[in-house]
């Protein structure tokens, strides 16, 4: 039996539901030394800003139980070099690219979107709104419905009408469904759930924070239940919106649970550091999991964790056999 792995994210058709996660695969060149990256559904590139950025001082990372904290600070080459070097390379390599953008003012997001209008190989934008808003005392855009919506509105206005826009949400909010509604109303075509969870590691010897930036973003299996919860809540509230699920995916089985929670596609982030081959492996394992359950189309397992789906569904029943 051949399993259909193609997914349709609100008009964006990808041959495979397994993607990379922003900031965990750079712009593809390094990963291409490990496995053939054209087998990915798409590359989601590291969030790019207008100007070149040095990022934060080291230490920038701390391993924590089943996870890690990072405070990279969006080090990057700036949009011009990103387009001319990275996007050109990805386009030549033939990998569909979802370009992630980040800014500290609403107008920066708009400007980034304009620059990317005619860039090669970009099939969608992912808008990283987990950045401090310099126009509002550095409050993170993603944490408040209005600023989050303003960014998405600006991107939507500046983007070609047929270029899908994914808003990437932060789990560090009281009600993620409220933010999801706000960005979808503002014009987001899809959602990426979730970004890292703010955390802190303290060196037990020195009793000082391990990271130079004091706090950092927690990622990896440690946050998987939070990611699943966010996806499940948002899916229940927004039955039709395409969702890219991300947060602690390590295996085909993990990917399957994300789909069941309501994701239409899955990104592998931190696990690339543990197993550089992980995106390729997760996609193979997912196909095997589906086959073993007698499911011929990956889209059939989406939303199965929601109560309205009867337990007699093929995918669930064959589990018990």
């Amino acid at each position: 039996m051949k399993v259909n792995m193609a997914v349709d994210l609100g008009g964006l058709v990808l041959t495979n539901p397994v993607l990379t996660a922003s900031g965990c695969a750079a712009s593809g060149r390094e990963l291409d030394r490990i496995f053939d990256i054209t087998t990915l559904g798409a590359m989601i590139t590291k969030s790019i800003m207008l100007e070149p950025r040095q990022g934060r001082p080291t230490p920038r990372m701390a391993e924590t139980p089943s996870g890690m904290l990072n405070s990279i600070g969006l080090q990057g080459p700036g949009i011009d070099r990103f387009i001319n070097e990275d996007l050109v390379w990805l386009a030549e390599r033939g990998v569909p690219t979802i370009a992630s953008i980040a800014g500290t003012h609403v107008h920066e997001y708009a400007e980034l979107t304009r620059r990317l209008r005619s860039a090669p190989g970009v099939v969608a934008l992912e808008v990283n709104i987990s950045c401090p808003n310099h126009d509002d005392r550095d409050h993170v855009f993603a944490c408040y419905p209005e600023p989050a919506a303003k960014v998405i509105e600006a991107v939507r206005r500046s983007a070609p009408f047929d270029l899908p826009i994914f808003a990437k949400l932060s789990p560090d909010v009281t009600d993620i469904v409220e933010i999801a509604h706000a960005v979808v109303d503002a014009g987001a075509d899809g959602l990426t759930l979730i970004n890292t969870v703010l955390g802190l590691a303290i060196d037990p010897k020195t009793l000082r924070p391990v990271l130079s930036a004091v706090t950092g973003g927690l990622s990896g299996p440690a946050i998987r239940p939070i990611a699943l919860r966010c996806i499940h809540q948002v899916r229940a509230a927004l039955p039709k919106i395409p969702i890219i699920g991300v947060g602690g995916v390590t295996s085909g089985q993990d990917a399957l649970t994300f789909l069941a929670a309501g994701a239409n596609a899955i990104s592998v982030g931190t696990w690339v550091f543990s197993d550089p081959n992980a995106p390729a492996r997760v996609s193979q394992e997912l196909a095997q999991e589906l086959k073993a359950r007698g499911v011929s189309d990956v889209n059939e397992v989406v939303n199965l964790a929601h109560a309205e789906y009867p337990l007699e569904s093929d995918a669930v029943v064959s589990l018990n056999e």
Partner: protein, 278 residues
């Protein structure tokens, strides 16, 4: 069908479930010999590998980096690599407890190795603690080019000086240094470096060890006008260039320091490239 990858081939990073063929204690360290044919065949001195640590489902999710200490490449299937493990936290302790026939997931070869001189010149190789590990693979390659090799091996205490016996074969001469005086000269490797440079008319210095030691060696090398390469150690999450955790300030041709990834641009740098004071 997969299209062949643009950059697989000679740049390929291999990831192998390597069998532990042998283990041995060397002072405070454990040396593991791993069956890793493809890595052995491609490795250059100064490059490193990363190893998964812990059992399946471990909470230790990140790979640990180790210099390639030695390589045997048979040309056939039997190539091996040696790594020197200093038990430190949970991950290195787990690795140091591996036994023969155990499997360790190894990825490599990673990073840029040492540049070796074209002429058969005299070289001083300086190692601090387990930083001495990569110098032995380097010494093999230098010796094959007819270079004269002086090793300076240091450590806080005698058991932390790595490669005491091996250096007899690997180097033409060796100076041992300990901070507590339990072995060799009392003091630091920098206390004996200038003397070695002068005595052997050294044209190249290679160093690996703690960052403070490398900074001090660089200063002496610049004063002595001897070319010096250092292998640095920065905390790494991925080891192959995708995460940006391992950066350090490196001066470009314009002398302006920029944060550069140690895992792909290094770990070996010319000493004058590193902006030590930033």
């Amino acid at each position: 069908m997969n299209t062949p990858s643009a950059s697989l081939g000679k740049n390929r990073i291999h990831q192998i479930d390597a069998e532990v063929l042998a283990t041995r204690r060397a002072g405070a360290y454990t040396v593991l010999t791993l069956s890793a044919n493809q890595i052995a065949a491609a490795a250059k001195p100064g490059q490193f590998v990363t190893c998964s640590v812990g059992e399946v489902g471990t909470g230790l999710i990140l790979r640990r980096a180790f210099s390639i200490h030695d390589v045997t490449s048979t040309g056939g299937q039997g190539g091996t690599i040696d790594v020197v493990v200093a038990p430190h936290g949970g991950g290195t302790q787990w690795l140091a407890q591996r036994r023969r026939y155990d499997k360790v997931n190894v990825s490599g070869p990673l990073g840029q190795g040492f540049k070796v001189p074209r002429e058969p010149v005299s070289c001083v190789l300086v190692g601090g603690g387990y930083g001495s590990a990569p110098l032995f693979f380097l010494a093999k390659v230098l010796a094959a080019r007819g270079c004269r090799i002086e090793m300076i091996l240091g450590g806080a205490t005698a058991d932390k000086v790595f490669g005491i016996l091996e250096s007899r074969r690997a180097a033409n001469s060796t100076t041992l240094v300990t901070e507590d005086g339990t072995l060799g000269v009392t003091g630091r490797v920098t206390d004996v470096l200038v003397d070695s440079i002068n005595r052997f008319d050294a044209k190249a210095i290679y160093a690996c060890g703690p960052m403070g030691m490398l900074a001090a060696i660089s200063e002496l090398a610049v004063d002595a006008e001897v070319a010096c390469q250092v292998a640095v150690e920065e905390a790494m999450a991925c080891g192959f260039g995708v995460c940006m955790t391992c950066v350090l300030p490196i001066k470009g041709d314009d002398e302006v320091p920029r944060l550069v990834r140690a895992c792909v641009a290094g770990p070996v740098f010319a000493c004058e490239q590193v902006a030590w004071h930033l």
